[in-house]
Symmetry: C3
């Protein structure tokens, strides 16, 4: 099935109309900006990480977003409980392997999480996706040292191995699912100067997956919305501070015309 | 005693002049925005949650704000220590039951905290206040599924049971204390699209309670300042990103004229 | 060696060209704003605090920033591991003693960290620096009750005792290293109304120390960049909300001309 701007727009309308609850177990750095991105998109975010309550919270959510950006033992324990509960209930799980490859603890935690339950969508930058496939990579903390195209083969292998839709984000976003590779070429370089933009993209994958059971379509919608909102914000920004503010405004105001006129979606042959 | 705009203005002047230290044990999502809201109002925020130091920190504060938005075992332990210390010293405690009703862990923690010491003020949305009275509610994470008026009876019962001033926030804010019900009708719908606005309101209740021993007056002042700053910000905002920025600016610049001209305060008969 | 605007500009160029990875173990309140300040300056931030991975993360970083703003037992343990690893590898450590003096836990933790390894740079406000030397001070939470000049003698004693470059920030920033005291008089009072500006200054000390082995020069560069960006932002701000946004934009856009025309650097005789 070809994914069109029209499909994506219908998903955005569904998110805004139904305001799905998205349960995030995410990192401290981006909790606020992630919650605001989900709200601006029309979803309803909740953050909860205590082992005492994660399963109950996942149980009332429409998607579960796991982000290992500032992981530690008790959080990892909660992630597993939430992921298993999501598996039982058929709630889509989105994984952001922040900093995979930077430390073995991060890489191992991601492998274990994927083994526990293949996520609906895995979204990371090139370094992170390669680290999940090849083990060692020359990563630098949480920022990728490589363009996204370098990770395309790794994304295909990760998709084969896990069955998860794999999204490598960068100047071009590649969304890999079986034979199909969708490309989204929206976005602006200044977005890389704002912390948590990748994490927001992952959370938006959760919002789209909550209303669209085609996970490649969900990932494409999230990346397109992110990229177009970033472009709109960049037009009137003077730096990363105003970009971050304008991004939330643009996500909130994103219209069908904006989407149709600005989207650069394609397929690799 | 009738609460007037003039009373509220005097409280704001006291906050700005004395810059009371407000000890917050709050959630990860809103720590930054809460600290900024307190600073913009003129208060001095401190966040501290280690069992090793919470009692000492509460001991130098003028109010203690407890917010269970991302609670976990060690944090709950610290909350109890801080609350007991506040009780010994007569420091007002403000409770924000974030997500009460969404999980039983949240509801139970709130009940236990209230049993340990009746807060000066409990501020929540309709779902949360109803959950504290009725147990089960149809809540959706941390956002209320109901208008505030639906929770008025629950607020009255919670006030009767605990003696706490109970504030239900929403399109109309209801502040319940004994026979008196104060209403504040300031605010803007866009505020619901910014995470942590409710948490900021609770923190401001702490700032007002630090300078005004009438807790209904303190809650009314906080809700009026929040609402008017939100209205001012909404006038020149293009979405939730710029609203959040403009809100802090407006809180910082709030003048006596703004307050007197914009406040919509009333009493239920 | 005299530190000039030209030296500082060369450091800024190095940061922007090499984008050094800065490992932060910092507080929850400022993680987002600190990461954004480092990104706007051109550095690459990473936050990691799990005992399982801190040593590995420090090992790939160019500087380690320790900030005790919301410390607790497991975080303190991780701080020690990271600091010792930095010591082994010769990676500069920057310490922000947030709230030292406010509780004995904070003061003691700072002393123990300094005993484990003398930091390259210690940056705090007057109350904090005095608390590290004198034990008891009349502090109020995390904000200083004193002008920076009051702490100059304490800064000299702390520098003598530890060998660390000591930076007391305030209306005038004093950077003390042996006989030399550099002063930076940039900045704007509104910066005190935004949470985490001091923490951002400490993180920028890390970015400069990553590219300049003269730690007084690194601290001077960080304080000058902070102060000038704050001044630029204040010109077009209407309050602390817009100041915070404008600050990131100004840091990102800071040019050699801005630096040379605006810097107010001096030396105490």
């Amino acid at each position: 099935m070809k994914i069109t701007a029209k499909n994506i727009w219908l998903d955005i309308e569904k998110i805004r109309e139904t305001s799905p609850l998205i349960h995030n177990i995410t990192n401290y750095v981006v909790m606020n900006s992630t919650a605001n991105a989900l709200l601006a998109m029309g979803a309803s975010p909740v953050m909860a990480h205590a082992v005492e309550e994660v399963e109950e919270m996942t149980g009332i959510a429409r998607a579960l977003v796991i982000n290992i950006g500032t992981l530690s033992e008790s959080w990892v324990k909660a992630m597993f409980r939430a992921v298993r509960r999501a598996g039982e209930l058929g709630i889509p799980v989105i994984l952001d392997p922040v900093g995979a490859g930077a430390t073995s603890y991060r890489t191992k935690t991601c492998h274990d999480l994927i083994d526990a339950l293949s996520p609906a969508i895995i979204r990371g930058n090139a370094s992170e996706i390669m680290a999940l496939v090849m083990g060692e990579t020359k990563t630098k903390g949480v920022d990728s040292s490589d363009p996204s195209s370098v990770a395309l083969e790794a994304a295909k292998r990760l998709n084969e191995k896990t069955g998860s839709t794999v999204c490598v984000s960068g100047e071009v976003d590649y969304i890999v699912s079986g034979e199909n590779v969708i490309t989204i070429e929206n976005g602006h370089p200044m977005m890389g100067k704002v912390t948590g933009m990748g994490c927001a993209a992952t959370a938006l994958c959760g919002a789209f997956a909550a209303v669209d059971s085609s996970f490649p379509a969900a990932a494409a919608g999230a990346m397109a919305a992110m990229g177009i909102a970033g472009e709109t914000a960049a037009e009137s920004s003077e730096g990363p501070g105003s970009l971050q503010v304008g991004f939330l405004d643009a996500l909130f105001r994103l219209s069908e015309d904006d989407l149709i006129n600005s989207i650069r979606i394609g397929e690799l042959q």
